[in-house]
Symmetry: C2
Subunit: 251 residues, 2 copies
């Protein structure tokens, strides 16, 4: 069933995709040599294929000679329905929360063993956070991550709890403590973090449920401190999450 | 210099890209037959290549059997620096404007003879607008579009003014009238529309200038009516556009 590497068509397609696969958040501008090395291709082959990718608009050659992702791939990526539909539906709710709190607002889903940020709203009054749309962060150290971890399949949960890396002095790295927090997410309907990902930043997050009550995503906000605002913030998030969930369900 | 179609490598790459090129805003979920037809490929070839694209994560087969753009292309597209850097830099300024006005806020660039929306903020209190991130609209009927048209190269200007399609009864379709409005954009530093794209929606927009004073993008808001708020809205947009421009310039 799988592609046969000796079939020239399949093989060329795989090589072209391997070139695109070299790009990631840490390597978003690459020389031809870096692309060839990353895709394990001879320079001449890489050069020919990169030229095709540039002609089509998938890549662009920047002023310094390095290659970057082009506008055509950006537009193509926006057609991805899982991301775009959820973002589109959630967007006005996120902006309502932002308008009411001026806090950083996050919409996130689980991507393997990490949190993937689908959307982020932040103004100049918002607390700095390390998130960025399309970025991935650890599940155990973020508010949205704890929500998604609480509802993740058993094998994801077990893998994550075996490798609780410390990010700040306040990151929860004891599995028993995190387990107890995840149980509280189920009981209370929200998760929180206190400077566990970034010093000076706390977060509160709630689940977004689809038609079958499955948790599809998480909605969270980042604030300098939680304190007495918690009940108000959690209530605002729950209202928005219910609105998003209702909009996701077929009428 | 161009790719040789008989070189199997180049040819396969071009065919793979042709398959991806069939997707657009109006056709974001496609059957195998539609993909093959759109890319002008035999079904068997299209089938083999689509399988490669699915294995890599570029495409996903939806429940109804049609193919859609996958999460991996979405993440790859977000690495496009022209779009992502400008969006990232502009984002807090957009949210400041949204927080102050609760209006729909737009960040847009010119893409050929159309406006391309890079970002859009809108809450439930905002007036409905037809924009969507990644969508393209006519230059002559939108506030951000008029700004970008006022600073477009002569040949773009001439082509657009030859084909002023009517979208609402209020769309400006007389070239002389539009010319006069574009001169006012240069003189006054902002553009406006009154129900020219969508009935019930007015807009005000200003240019965003880079280090060399070139107009790189436009920043606009959509409101139910402008009236006496215009001076205040234009001032808020100018402050934000100057902030974005300053952040774009190397220190």
């Amino acid at each position: 069933m799988a592609g046969n590497a000796r079939d020239p068509g399949v093989s060329v397609a795989a090589r072209l995709l391997a070139l695109l696969g070299v790009f990631d958040e840490k390597a978003s501008a690459l020389t031809l040599t870096e692309l060839a090395d990353g895709a394990e291709l001879p320079i001449a082959t890489a050069h020919r294929m990169v030229r095709e990718l540039v002609e089509w608009g998938a890549l662009v050659r920047a002023e310094d000679g390095r290659y970057v992702v082009g506008r055509r791939l950006w537009k193509l990526g926006l057609l991805a329905p899982d991301q775009s539909d959820l973002r589109e539906i959630a967007s006005p709710f996120l902006h309502d929360i932002y308008g009411a709190t001026l806090a950083t607002v996050h919409l996130a889903i689980r991507d393997g063993d990490e949190v993937l940020y689908l959307d982020r709203l932040a103004g100049h009054a918002s607390v700095p956070a390390v998130s960025r749309v399309g970025a991935r962060l650890p599940l155990h150290a973020t508010g949205v991550g704890k929500v998604l971890l609480a509802y993740a399949p058993r094998e994801v949960h077990d893998r994550v709890l075996r490798t609780l890396t410390r990010i700040t002095p306040y990151t929860v790295t004891r599995p028993a403590q995190l387990e107890s927090e995840l149980r509280r997410v189920h009981r209370d309907g929200y998760a929180q973090t206190v400077e566990e990902m970034t010093l000076g930043a706390c977060s509160v997050a709630v689940p977004i449920r689809g038609g079958d009550e499955d948790v599809l995503a998480a909605l969270g906000i980042v604030v300098p401190r939680i304190g007495r605002d918690r009940a108000r913030l959690v209530a605002a998030l729950h209202v928005a999450a219910q609105g998003i969930g209702r909009s996701l369900r077929p009428a």
